[in-house]
């Protein structure tokens, strides 16, 4: 607890994103926002609402429809001394930008022998459960986190959405922020007013427990919390919200799992080579003797995200999480 009380406001997650952008654009005149429909409309989810009015057309820019083009331009904008915050309109519509991401965004600092920085941010709403048409539901964090030179953060709460975005904007390296659109308007909470930074690479213990650690990020944190509630009579379940996938708070992860001796990782993305696999591998490498059971993964499946009438079968459910926890406890 800090000694001085920080003034807070109750905000929805998407409002907290918007708040962070307003604060950071006001703080640093080199920060600019660009993407499809971010200006006039204020973003299809209203995440950039009011920026154009507050900071002018030159700092909140509607781009042509060209994800590879404007991410590539963001690399050049960095070279010209700007700190671009790029919005991808939806998870799956970021895919055209992967060429620039992989071949340049993640490599340019390295290519200059560390002489030039590329302090750009990519933000995107991600994830399913929103009853949307095809390709509005993906969880593509693995593609990004697999790319060297790029950092990745995923907030689960409004305060973290604001703080992680601020940290991303201030970071000297490219950072991708995945915003869980499922809870854009349902996750509400107290958000510190004014400047608020949540350091990248620090996990958050969303719930304390002693029998098993549920590890999650983004929209799956709330699913894990509900599962922990449902299990309250049977077990004391800890929920660890990673908040940042790269850098990863492996200390917090290992400390928690060493204490509880059990772990289930929950992710929305398809299973194979998803980030849950990485967590699992780390635990096998560093905590094998502390484990009292297998590390299980509850994930989306290795299929295209289904049409929305079927999506509840695809998304990790509270029931599937509870089932996995029971299997580990019974091991």
């Amino acid at each position: 607890m800090s000694a001085t009380a920080v003034a807070t406001r109750e905000l929805m997650l998407v409002e907290a994103v918007n708040d962070a952008l307003h604060v950071e654009l006001a703080r640093d005149p080199s920060v600019i926002v660009l993407g499809e429909d971010v200006g006039r409309l204020g973003g299809v989810f209203r995440a950039t609402a009011g920026l154009r009015e507050a900071f002018g057309e030159k700092r909140c820019i509607d781009t042509p429809l060209s994800e590879a083009g404007f991410l590539g331009a963001a690399v050049g904008l960095c070279m010209a001394g700007w700190r671009p915050v790029v919005e991808m309109q939806y998870d799956a519509f970021s895919y055209p930008c992967l060429d620039q991401l992989i071949t340049h965004v993640g490599r340019y600092r390295w290519r200059t022998g560390g002489r030039m920085g590329f302090p750009l941010v990519i933000r995107m709403p991600y994830g399913g459960g929103v009853r949307a048409p095809e390709l509005h539901d993906d969880s593509p964090e693995t593609y990004y986190v697999h790319t060297p030179g790029v950092k990745v953060a995923v907030p689960a709460t409004p305060a973290d959405a604001k703080g992680l975005l601020a940290a991303a904007i201030r970071d000297p390296d490219p950072v991708v922020l995945f915003e869980p659109k499922l809870v854009y308007r349902t996750a509400r909470g107290a958000v510190p007013e004014g400047e608020h930074v949540v350091e990248l690479g620090k996990a958050r213990r969303a719930r304390e427990g002693s029998d098993l650690t549920l590890v999650a990020w983004g929209a799956m944190v709330a699913v894990c919390e509900r599962a922990a509630d449902d299990l309250a009579a049977e077990a004391s379940v800890e929920v660890l919200d990673l908040r940042s996938l790269k850098p990863l708070d492996d200390e917090a992860l290992l400390a928690s799992v060493r204490r509880t001796g059990r772990c289930v990782v929950v992710q929305e993305a398809p299973r194979t080579c998803g980030f849950a696999s990485e967590i699992s591998a780390l635990l096998a490498e560093h905590a094998i003797l502390d484990l009292q059971g297998p590390v299980l993964r509850v994930t989306g499946y290795d299929v295209p995200y289904p049409y929305w009438q079927l999506e509840d079968w695809y998304m990790p459910s509270v029931e599937r999480v509870v089932d996995a926890v029971r299997r580990v406890l019974a091991f």
């Binding site: 299809v44 299929v303 049409y307 009438q309």
Partner: protein, 352 residues
Amino acid sequence: MSAVPVVEQDLERVIAGRPAVRPAGLDDDALLALHRSLVRLRVYDERSVVYHSQGRIGTYAIFRGHEAIQAGAVHALEERDWIFPSYRESAIGLLRGLPASTILQWWRGHPSGWWNPEEVNVASICVPIATHVPHAAGLAWGLALKESDAVAVAIFGDGATSEGAFHEGANLAAVFRAPLVLLCNNNQWAISTPLRDQTAAERLSDKAVGYGMPAIRVDGNDVLAVHDAVRRGVEHARAGEGPTFVEAVTYRSFPHATADDPSIYVDRERVEAERGRDCVAAYETYLRDLGVLDDEDVQTVREEALAELRAGIQAAEDEAPGDPELVFAHAYADPPPDLARDLEELRRVHER
């Protein structure tokens, strides 16, 4: 001087209304068939907006005002020719015999919204902007390699011309002389982004020059103009001359989709003016002036279309919800074995 022609129709003339002169090559039956298609699309769209407001379909991309582009194009094709639609042309398969229920199911997020493109020569609805342009180029090229005389039409928006996939597909089609018509629905908006922020080119059709292909620019509210332009592109393609870019100029005077609130960004007066240039009403006036259509015909065609939609939504709603098995179906011809284990586990946990 450009090496390839950009044929520009006199847009003003069309806006002011077509003279009551019969177009060459279209008899009364053909003119009425075109009308029927326009009305079927219009009614599909009108009803879909209502179904959405009643919670019977999900988010829906409205195409009111763009029926002339879609019907005009389909009627310029033979059944063996392929259509590559974007989400904006989601219902174009109606004109190739797809049941309304199939398309409604797509918007209801039901897996029976899947269709077999080969049965109707209509590719799946493409959601990511412009990514179907190279598919259409590849299909057209591939058919030509097999010495088929079928052609393809890819339909996309003004915003799509900014994407790499559009450029790469168009260029490739021109290099391989693929029998393709690139039909751009220039409705002057990409969600909230107006055309002037999308391109510095004066006309989208000018882009064709850079690819070495001809272009035709027409009024997209004039179904006969679109029909004629696409027909010319198709003839050019069938003759082995390669692709044509057709720019159909219209205006999006309705929301981008049911989730969109255009009041934030549109020019209300312009929208009102554009609504007054409705493509279906304009064609009906033209046919009446020709003496080919009367009130009774209009009524009959509309009622048939309404009945088609009533039956369609009924069939869609009567269908059982998709089984969880379908989550795992069809991604592979030969699925890796863990998918079957996943399904089994899902059923065990959810007792389904």
